[in-house]
Every structure is written in structure tokens, then in C-alpha cells.
């Protein structure tokens, strides 16, 4: 990651002079500063990129939107010279090329990313037409609301995980059902995308943990349970939260392109169809091609959806309810006024205004949302018991007090019943404890008073010091600091013959992902990740089982590389991350990382092979 100034500083004088000349800078100027100024001036940059043509703009779009490093390399082929477009970009100081063994790498300076994005997006947005809409639908901070709903749902009903950290398939519908219904967000695929985005947010903010039942005979059941205090993470300044959601959404290619276009069209209400055309143009430029079998509008919505759910724009619809427009301005976030709603004698809470995400956490934790409804919530024995269990992390007081902060005084019969349920719903928990075996009483005394002071829960016997399992890392550090490293491993009693390594739990925890691959976007299209470098970046991907492809694959098999296959089978577009193992007739055999088993891929269906990072 390097700035223009650093490249210029390290480049030869000859190269710098050549760049200056190409940029039309006068001799005698302070080239280094002027080059930086010229390249970051969006107007000049736009003129320059216009002049360089599509061959040059494509790789730049790939870098700034798709994070595709530009590599010129060939497997099984003789080396070839960089393309004319690459040379032009290099000559104008937009790219710096490096030679490394087999390949050329081209790098775009860090401080050029934003200007290039803006210029490319502005250029693409030029043909987008203005429009009007019958009404607009906004979903401000929806991802945060979804995260709040899921956190509360998991407190009531943890989701089962497989040993490898993936969610069981049957958990998904329940998680999807836990989300509040919203317009254009309730189709199965849209809900799946919302769940994935919300889980990612919770995971990244450390609001989820994996609970592993390692009790003797427990079977190692793994569950995804809530952790931490989401009211803090999801609270605070809503504009800052929206920006955070937007930047998370932009981690995928399509939303990133959508954001760039929305910024280029800031404040305008534009036709969805022409927005989609501009979007697809930019996407094709960034990715080299468009996926098949997906309409331009669907692709655009895959990009717009996550941004809409963050609150970065509004969607406009016509009188029949069809989506027809995009308002390229952030959705208004209403400042909450007064109480959220009220509680009725029938144990129902009605939200009379939209809750904030922290309010939603509290509300959906203590009360269950009535099925299919957005504003009605039911207080049940189970919801109150879950609130008592999970609510300790949120507040010291009981569910009645917490509810009264949201909805004011509760009816007498409701308050009385909740008190009763809360009392009956209290539970005791089983926690893992470990013993440090000091060896003898004197050493135990020494440790308890010294490095482990404050960390020993109880003294058992002469030389055993009980500690909380959660404190183990701190204990390890303390003992290491005192020159007493812990012996590796753990002497543990288990009811199972085949001992489950405790490391498995930790591995599952760290390996957990919200879903196997990138989540589907709005309408189910999958936004793609960026961590892929292409082989033969600007060369057209071979189609069919060409000898080139077979030769490339043979090399990759020899080298045991992890690759991403772009597959197209009967119009269906998908990718697979694979370790190719063998060419078998018209099939490639390989270990599929996504489904963790061996698969055969028809060579006819392989459209592109890329090295996976």
C-alpha cells in the first residue's frame, strides 16, 4: 500500500520525467508534487481516462471496485510483453509495474483509488436519466435492526452449528423468520441476504459466540449464542452507524459500485432501468464480464440492496408498487421522540413509532414479535425467561423496569405476571473451571499470592488452584511472566472413549462463518468477494475445454494451488474454490473447499480459472 509520492520518489528520474511529459506538465516544475496534484485532480483525471480508452479503464475499474490486482502472467506459455494499455497507464503515472519472476504486477497508488472510483462512476452515471416515483421506501439502519432481531432471537433460541462452524440448514428459516417484515425484503432470498448481513455485523462486533457443550457425554453440541452488549454497538449516533453499515456493505463488489454511482448521482432521483445499465457497465468493466442469466435490474438491486438496508438511499416505486427509481440520498433517520409505544392488558406491546436498534434489542428480547407483524409484540413466559437469562449483560434491573423504560407503566396484571415469570425463569449455568496443579502447598500459596492473585476462584486441596476457563489466556500470560510456563495440553475427564480435543471447540469458534460462501444479495444474486487474482487478467477467458485450459489446469494440479473456478452450467453462473487434483477425461476432479468434499467439474462448464488468495 503506497501513495503516489512514494512511487515517484522511488522511480527513476527518467521515468518521472516521462510521466510529467505525458501529463503535460511544464519542465522545471516540482514534478513530484505536480504529478500528485495532476493525478488527484478529478477533472484532469477524467480527461486523461477519457483519452486512454476502455482497455485502460477496465483494469483500473477492476482494481478500485473489485480489488483485482493486475498481473500479467502465464502458466505454461511463453512470457509476453505488457499490453499497450498497461504501458499507457504506466506512462501516465497511474500504474507502477513491477516484474517478479513469471509475472508483471501493476499497482495503483492508494491515494488514487478514490479519485479513480469517482471519475469512473461519474463517467458511467452520465447516461442515467432522472425520474419521479409515486412513493419511496426507505430502510434506514435495517441491517442494524436485523442484527438486533437476530441477537434477541438467538437469546431465546440458539442456532445449532455443525462441527465445522457452519449453520445447520434447518436453522436458516428460523433465523429468517426472526426478522421483521419489510417491503421488498421478505422474499426467501432477500431474507437470506439480510440474515447473512446481520450475522456478519454481529460476528464482526463480537456479539456472537459459539457455545460448545463439552460436558462429559454432551456430544459436543455447538450453538451460536449472543454475547456482549449490542445496545452499545448498535446505539450512539445513527449517522455514524449508517456510515459503518455502508462501509461494511461496500466490502462486496456490487454494493461498492452502487455506492460509487449513488455518490456520483448525489441528491438526484433517477430511473432504475438506466441506473441498472450504468451499474452493469461499471460491473462489466470491473469484473471483465457480467454473469449470465441475471437481468441488469437484478444485478443492480444486488448492489443497491445492502446500501438500501444501510440507509444510504431510497427506492422509488410506481403506483402499482413496482420498483422504478432510486433516490440517491440517505434515508432520513427519525429521531426517537417519547416512549416507544405502550403495553396492554392482553400482554401485547404495540410500538407506535419505529424503534431504534438498541430499543429493538430490548423489545424483541423481552417480547416476541407477533408473526408477520411489525408493530405488535407479545409478552410470553418464554420471552421473559430469555430476557432474564440474556438480559444480565444489558442491564442490572429486571424485565419490568426495562420494559417500563420503553413503554411506560405496565398494566397491573402484566407487571405481576412478568415478575412471576422472571422469578420462575431464573436459571443456574454450568461453566467450565480448570485447576492449576501447583504441585505442592507452598508453590500454590506462592502462586495465589503472586502472579495469580485475583484469578484464583478457590483453593482445592493442598496444591490445586481453581480458575475460570475464560481466564486461561490471562493465567497463561501471568505464569509465563513469572517464569512458570504451563505444560501443554489438558488432563480432562470425559465420558467418551474418543476424546474430543478441546482445540476443536476453539477451531470451530474461529472457523465460524455466517454462510459457506458470499451471501446472496437482494433478489438472490451473490455479490462476489475481492480476494482473487486472475490468471491472464486482460486476456479473454478460455471457453470450452481448450488445450490452453487443460495445460493451465495441469500446471495448477502439479503445484497444488487453491483456485477459484468460474462455472457456467446451462445458464447458471457460480463459482467454486477448489484444489484441483486430477484431469479425468472431460472432467476436472478436485477438493471443493465450499462443500468440503471431492467434486468433478465438467471442463466444458469452466469459464475461468483464477488463483484464490
Amino acid at each position: 500500500m503506497t501513495a503516489i509520492a512514494e512511487f515517484v520518489a522511488k522511480a527513476s528520474k527518467k521515468h518521472v520525467r516521462a510521466v510529467a511529459r505525458a501529463l503535460g506538465l511544464d519542465e522545471g516544475n516540482d514534478y513530484k508534487r505536480e504529478i500528485q496534484r495532476a493525478l488527484t485532480d478529478e477533472r484532469r483525471l477524467a480527461t486523461l481516462l477519457d483519452r486512454l480508452g476502455d482497455d485502460a479503464r477496465g483494469p483500473l475499474a477492476g482494481v478500485v471496485f473489485a480489488g483485482r490486482p493486475i498481473e500479467m502472467s502465464q502458466y505454461g506459455f511463453e512470457r509476453r510483453a505488457p499490453s499497450r494499455a498497461m504501458l499507457e497507464l504506466e506512462r501516465h503515472g497511474l500504474l507502477y509495474g513491477f516484474e517478479a519472476g513469471w509475472s508483471h504486477h501493476y499497482v495503483l497508488a492508494d491515494d488514487l483509488h478514490e479519485p479513480v472510483r469517482a471519475v469512473l462512476a461519474t463517467r458511467a452515471a452520465g447516461a442515467v436519466a432522472d425520474a419521479t416515483a409515486h412513493s419511496f421506501i426507505a430502510a434506514p439502519l435495517q441491517t442494524a435492526h436485523d442484527a438486533a432481531s437476530l441477537w434477541a432471537h438467538l437469546a431465546r433460541e440458539p442456532a445449532r452449528l455443525k462441527a465445522d462452524g457452519e449453520l445447520y440448514v434447518r436453522a436458516s428459516p428460523k433465523l429468517a423468520a426472526a426478522l421483521a417484515p419489510i417491503e421488498f425484503g421478505d422474499a426467501d432470498q432477500a431474507r437470506t441476504a439480510r440474515v447473512a448481513a446481520a450475522l456478519r455485523l454481529l460476528r464482526d462486533d463480537e456479539l456472537l459466540r459459539v457455545r460448545v457443550d463439552d460436558r462429559p457425554g454432551g456430544g459436543g453440541r455447538r450453538e451460536l449464542v449472543p454475547a456482549g452488549d449490542p445496545t452499545r454497538t448498535l446505539g450512539g449516533d445513527p449517522v455514524r452507524l449508517r456510515n459503518r453499515l455502508m462501509s461494511r456493505a461496500q466490502e462486496a463488489v456490487e454494493p461498492d459500485i452502487a455506492v460509487a454511482l449513488v455518490r456520483a448521482l448525489a441528491g438526484r432521483t433517477v430511473e432504475l432501468a438506466s441506473f441498472a445499465a450504468a451499474f452493469c457497465g461499471l460491473l462489466a468493466q470491473s469484473m471483465g464480464r457480467l454473469p449470465r442469466g441475471v437481468t441488469a435490474q437484478e444485478l443492480a438491486l444486488a448492489g443497491l440492496g445492502p446500501i438500501w438496508h444501510a440507509g444510504g438511499l431510497e427506492l422509488g416505486r410506481d403506483a402499482d408498487g413496482g420498483l422504478v427509481a432510486v433516490r440517491c440520498a440517505p434515508a432520513e433517520i427519525d429521531a426517537p421522540e417519547g416512549l416507544l409505544g405502550l403495553c396492554q392488558g392482553n400482554f401485547e406491546i404495540v410500538a407506535l413509532r419505529e424503534p431504534t436498534p438498541p430499543e429493538r434489542v430490548e423489545l424483541e428480547l423481552i417480547a416476541e414479535r407477533c408473526s408477520g407483524q411489525t408493530h405488535a409484540f407479545a409478552l410470553t413466559r418464554a420471552s421473559v425467561a430469555a430476557a432474564v437469562r440474556a438480559g444480565r449483560a444489558l442491564a442490572a434491573d429486571g424485565p419490568v423496569e426495562r420494559l417500563e423504560r420503553l413503554v411506560g407503566e405496565l398494566p397491573q396484571n402484566v407487571a405481576r405476571s412478568i415478575d412471576g415469570w422472571a422469578h420462575a425463569g431464573r436459571t443456574v449455568s454450568l461453566r467450565s473451571a480448570l485447576f492449576v496443579d501447583a504441585g505442592d502447598a507452598a508453590r500454590a500459596d506462592e502462586l495465589a499470592a503472586g502472579p495469580l492473585a485475583g484469578m484464583v476462584v478457590a483453593r482445592l486441596g493442598e496444591g490445586l488452584l481453581a480458575i475460570l476457563a475464560d481466564d486461561l489466556p490471562a493465567i497463561e500470560r501471568a505464569l509465563a511472566g513469572a517464569g512458570l510456563p504451563l505444560e501443554p495440553g489438558l488432563d480432562r475427564v470425559s465420558g467418551r472413549w474418543i476424546e474430543r480435543d478441546s482445540a476443536t471447540s476453539a477451531a470451530a469458534e474461529s472457523a465460524w462463518q455466517p454462510c459457506a460462501s458470499a451471501p446472496p444479495g437482494l433478489l438472490g444474486f451473490r455479490p462476489r468477494g475481492r480476494q482473487v487474482s486472475t490468471i491472464g487478467a486482460q486476456a479473454a477467458a478460455p471457453t470450452g475445454a481448450s488445450s490452453t485450459l487443460i495445460a493451465n489446469l495441469a500446471t495448477l494440479i502439479d503445484e497444488g494451488k487453491l483456485v477459484e473456478l468460474s462455472l457456467c452450467d446451462q445458464g447458471r453462473y457460480e463459482t467454486a474454490v477448489v484444489i484441483p487434483t486430477q484431469l479425468d477425461g472431460d472432467q476436472l476432479l478436485g477438493w471443493c473447499e465450499d462443500c468440503q468434499q471431492e467434486h468433478a467439474f465438467s471442463l466444458q462448464s469452466i469459464e475461468q480459472v483464477a488463483l484464490a488468495a
Binding site: 408498487g321 405502550l342 392482553n346 408477520g372 408493530h375 396484571n413
Partner: protein, 559 residues
């Protein structure tokens, strides 16, 4: 924040009671949505296909409904709801049943395609005789009901414009001293104008009187089907007291007597009785034993499946359904719509209460702890025994006395499920006991004595759940009940809602054993009453004792 309503994507509408526009909004919503819950602050209405077809039958157009929703809603109305409203309303009236020639009827559709579509369904095809035009098919008169039933199952309600048979005439007039209340007059007129349909009025508001007015207006022989024998007696009493019909013109078709007279009263149980489990229903032909000009279905929400089938055969007769709620937990509301008829009149109970036509009631749940010994027995009991142990809790006995002592001189009912428990309490109170074993004449004697004020406390088992008219009862103490039955709760409370002299108030106490499964069942019942808008308090026996006698003025949640 502007509109009083929130329209949700599941087609429920929340209406805020405290909003300035509540009254107007309620009136507009009631035209096309059913009131599902009416607790103190926010009422829930439900827009269903049947409610929309009811609205369409009353002449309301889809655009008017959509406009109302948009105008009343605080937030954007979900697009899918508006689309459903337009789609469902548009279905009503596209198929019509008309009179034909030679005793046949005609099914006419507005497009040939629709006729073809419905005729492709086997249940419809087998009822039609064939096409008489591109948009028309003929059918035999007896197929009228089954066809309507088959078409509504396909989601195509039929507008039935075929004529009704007048039946044999019967001269009946309401007595001069009976003064119909405004809403009763309106309900009877709305029904008479249509010829078939349902009148929805709250418990205690005088639905029977509406029935009498309909009979008088029709002036034809009438079959009345009601929920139980007590109700049969009540209908007979009301007919004799309020109409000019002679006693010998009223027949009772029951287990005891099989009289079929110009006005015949029977029960759903009687009609659906069958000697053998796999046999037929021998009494169902009562519908066809006379030329009835009118059939009255009391408590139409209880209409059982066999009666639906019989009703399907008598679609040429005028039909009146009476109920306090159109919501059926078995999902048979579309059958009521198609076979009995659309809703013709609906009066919100709050208006009736405000006008003093029904009493205000206050509900309280008293949680009575089990004594140490039964508590241990409860802890050790199997799940099935627990409910019996909890509901029979002897510690409830003194609480009953405590409740009654708070209402000295009030007419009170002690209602229970377990006869032994009721017997014990009756003995302690020195009160009369009525159970299923009490001979009918003895029951009537005791009820009459209670009505006359000669008896102040009656202990009654579940025989008193339905259609028992004891207008003077002002206090009810429920000592045990069936597992969380919401209908039972509503019916028991309904016994208290007749207007009371003085402050027009009633009290409904439920005694439950604290920290037992009975409390959970009571919770469900409590929910139901709270949903009807009754304020419910939870008390301990000590709190009850500390309350002044009659000092805690009962209140209904403010509307």
C-alpha cells in the same frame, strides 16, 4: 405522527384508541375489517377475504377501502395489502347466481374465461348442468348451496341474487310493550332488506330480540337452532313474552320432545346427534320437514359441519345468523359467509356500554397458594393430575366467601367445573347448587328464584356456560374451569353483561392456584378477556381482603 392506524403486511390493522381520529376510523374500518382484539389502548382489526367480500356485498368498492387505509395509516401501507384488497374485492360479484327457467338457476360470470376456469374444478363441474352461453351455466336449485360452498373454496364468492322462498305464512307481531332499541331495529331492518346474513352484537345486548324482530318482519314459519337446552327455554320464554305467537305454535325439538310446529326451536347438538358413530344424522331433515320461511342460527360461530351441509341444501330459505363474534377458530368463517350470508349489521360493544345497554365489568384473578400438603402432592403428581389438584384447591373456599362478603346483597354466581368442589362450596355458603344432574324443572325454578331476587347466590357447573339469561347477576366467582377455554370465559362473563340497575356494573373473579399449571391456563383466558377490553387485575387473597367492600369501583378500559 398523524394517522390513527398502522396497517401491517399480514393485513392486520392496529388502531390507536387515544388518537383524536379514533371514532371515525373505527367506523370506517369496521366496514371492511373484523375487530379481532379490543384491549384498552390499541385495537386490532383483521382484513380477510371474507371481511372484504362482506364489504363488497355491502357495496363498498376496493378503491374506497384502499383510500381509507392510506388515509388512516400512520406509515406507508404495504403495497401487498393494497394489491390484496383490490384483487379480493374484485372477485366479489364476478360470479352471480340468478333465477332461471323451469326451476333451474343460472350461474353467470363476467367473462367466459372465468366460467371455464371454475368449471375445470371437479366439485363445481359436477354441480353444473352445462353451459347455456359463453358466460352462463345452469344448475338445479338443490345445488345452490353446494355450488356456493365449492366456489368459495376456490376463492370465488358468488353473489346470490336468486329469489328466496317465502315459506308458510305465520302471523307474528311484536308486543306493543316491547320497545326495540335503535341498534336492534337497525339490525333487524338490515337483515330483512337482504334476506340472509349475520348480525354481530355483543353478549348481553339482546340478540334474541333482533331474532324476534326478524321473525315478526318475515311473518313466516321459523326454525330456530341454538346452542343448548337452556337457550331453547330462553327463546321460548322470549317468544311468549315479547310476541303475539300462541304457546301452541311454539315447538321444541329436543331429546325430551319432538314437536315440529310453526316456530320450532332446536339445538345444534340435537341436529348432529347420531345413534351410531358411523351412521347418518337422523334429525338433520328437520330443515326440510316444514316450509320454513326463516331459519335462525343462534351463536352462529358454533355452527357445526353437518349443519353447514344441511344449510347448503336450504339456500332458498331466508337465514339469520346471530353471534357476538364472526371469528371462528376453526377457520370456517368463509362457510358462514357463503352459506348463512354476509355480515349485515355490527355494533361495537363500547358504544352499547356507553349507552348503558350492557353492563361494565371488572375482572380480577385471585392467586391462591396451595397449602403445604397439597403443594407437595402437586409437586409429586403426574402432569394430568396436576390440573385437577390445582383447580380443586381447598384454599379457594374461604376466598369465595371473602369475595362474596365484598358484595353484600349482590346477586352472585359461583361457577366451577368440578361438581364436588362446587358441592362443598355450596354447602359452606348455604347456597343452591345446579349441575347437569339437576332436573330441568328444578333448575328453572332456581333460575326464576334468582331472577326474582329470592335467591342471592347460585353455585353452577358448566351447564351455565351458554345462553343462560340471568340479568340480575352482578358478581361471578369462577373457581375452576376447563383448560384455558377462551369461549367458556367469554360465555361466563357474558352472563353478567345484562344491564344492571344503579351503576350498571358487574364483577368477574377467577380464583387460580398460585404457581401451578392452573395459572398458565388462566393466563390464556385472561388474555382473551383483556383482548375484549376488560381491565384485569391480579390479586393475592390478602390484597383482596384489604380492599373495601364494593369500594373498588369497577372500570372498563377507557375507550
Amino acid at each position: 405522527m398523524s394517522g390513527p392506524a398502522i396497517v401491517q403486511s399480514d393485513r392486520s390493522v392496529l388502531l390507536e384508541v387515544a388518537h383524536a381520529g379514533f371514532a371515525g376510523a373505527r367506523e370506517r374500518l369496521a366496514a371492511f375489517a373484523e375487530l379481532e382484539k379490543s384491549p384498552e389502548h390499541v385495537h386490532t382489526y383483521r382484513i380477510s377475504p371474507v371481511s372484504l367480500w362482506n364489504a363488497a356485498a355491502a357495496g363498498l368498492r376496493a378503491e374506497e377501502i384502499a383510500h381509507t387505509l392510506v388515509e388512516l395509516s400512520r406509515y406507508d401501507v404495504p403495497q401487498a395489502v393494497l394489491a390484496d384488497v383490490r384483487d379480493l374485492c374484485a372477485r366479489y360479484g364476478r360470479l352471480r347466481l340468478l333465477d332461471g327457467v323451469g326451476g333451474l338457476l343460472r350461474l353467470r360470470s363476467d367473462t367466459p374465461a372465468l366460467l371455464v376456469e371454475v368449471m375445470r374444478a371437479a366439485p363445481v363441474a359436477e354441480l353444473l348442468r352445462g353451459c347455456t352461453g359463453p358466460c352462463e351455466a345452469s344448475l338445479a336449485a338443490p345445488a345452490r348451496g353446494p355450488l356456493k360452498q365449492a366456489l368459495i373454496a376456490l376463492g370465488w364468492p358468488v353473489e346470490d341474487l336468486a329469489r328466496y322462498e317465502d315459506g308458510d305464512a305465520l302471523a307474528v307481531q311484536l308486543r306493543d310493550e316491547l320497545e326495540l332499541r335503535d341498534y336492534q331495529q337497525e339490525a333487524a331492518a338490515a337483515f330483512s332488506a337482504a334476506g340472509a346474513g349475520v348480525v354481530v352484537l355483543p353478549c348481553g345486548s339482546g340478540k334474541t330480540i333482533v331474532g324476534l324482530a326478524a321473525i315478526a318482519a318475515q311473518g313466516a314459519e321459523t326454525l330456530i337452532v341454538t346452542s343448548n337446552a337452556t337457550s331453547v327455554a330462553q327463546w321460548r320464554r322470549e317468544l311468549l313474552a315479547n310476541t303475539t305467537v300462541a304457546p301452541e305454535a311454539i315447538g321444541e325439538y329436543s331429546g325430551q320432545a319432538k314437536q315440529i310446529r310453526p316456530i320450532t326451536i332446536t339445538t345444534y347438538q340435537m341436529l348432529t346427534h347420531r345413534p351410531r358413530r358411523d351412521g347418518g344424522f337422523p334429525h338433520l331433515d328437520l330443515f326440510e320437514r316444514r316450509e320454513w320461511g326463516l331459519v335462525v342460527y343462534d351463536e352462529v360461530h358454533l355452527l357445526p359441519a353437518p349443519v353447514f351441509r344441511a344449510t347448503a341444501r336450504i339456500q332458498a330459505r331466508r337465514r339469520l345468523g346471530l353471534t357476538a363474534t364472526l371469528i371462528r377458530e376453526d377457520g370456517a368463517a368463509p362457510l358462514v359467509f357463503s352459506l348463512v350470508g354476509p355480515k349485515r349489521y355490527d355494533a361495537p360493544w363500547r358504544e352499547l356500554e356507553d349507552a348503558g345497554w350492557i353492563a361494565g365489568a371488572e375482572c380480577a384473578e385471585v392467586r391462591v397458594p396451595l397449602a403445604a400438603e397439597p403443594r407437595m402432592a402437586y409437586a409429586l403428581a403426574e402432569a394430568r393430575e396436576r390440573f385437577v389438584l390445582a383447580s380443586g384447591n381447598r384454599a379457594k373456599d374461604p376466598v369465595v366467601r371473602s369475595v362474596l362478603s365484598r358484595h353484600p346483597g349482590a346477586q352472585a354466581l359461583v361457577i366451577g367445573y368440578h361438581v364436588a368442589q362446587l358441592g362443598r362450596i355450596a354447602q359452606q355458603l348455604g347456597a343452591a347448587l345446579i349441575t347437569g344432574n339437576t332436573p330441568r324443572h328444578e333448575r328453572e325454578t332456581l333460575y326464576d328464584a334468582f331472577r326474582a331476587g329470592d335467591v342471592h347466590v347460585l353455585c353452577v357447573s358448566k351447564v351455565a356456560n351458554f345462553a343462560l339469561d340471568l340479568p340480575s347477576a352482578a358478581v361471578a366467582v369462577q373457581v375452576s374451569g376447563t383448560f384455558g377455554s377462551r369461549q367458556e370465559e367469554a360465555q361466563r362473563l357474558g352472563r353478567l353483561l345484562r344491564p344492571k340497575p344503579g351503576d350498571n356494573r358487574a364483577w368477574f373473579y377467577t380464583l387460580v392456584s398460585h404457581e401451578t399449571c392452573e395459572q398458565d391456563y388462566a393466563h390464556r383466558r385472561q388474555l382473551f378477556l383483556a383482548e375484549q377490553g376488560y381491565r384485569y387485575s391480579v390479586l393475592s387473597p390478602e390484597e383482596l381482603d384489604a380492599m373495601p367492600a364494593l369500594g373498588n369501583r369497577p372500570e372498563r378500559a377507557a375507550a
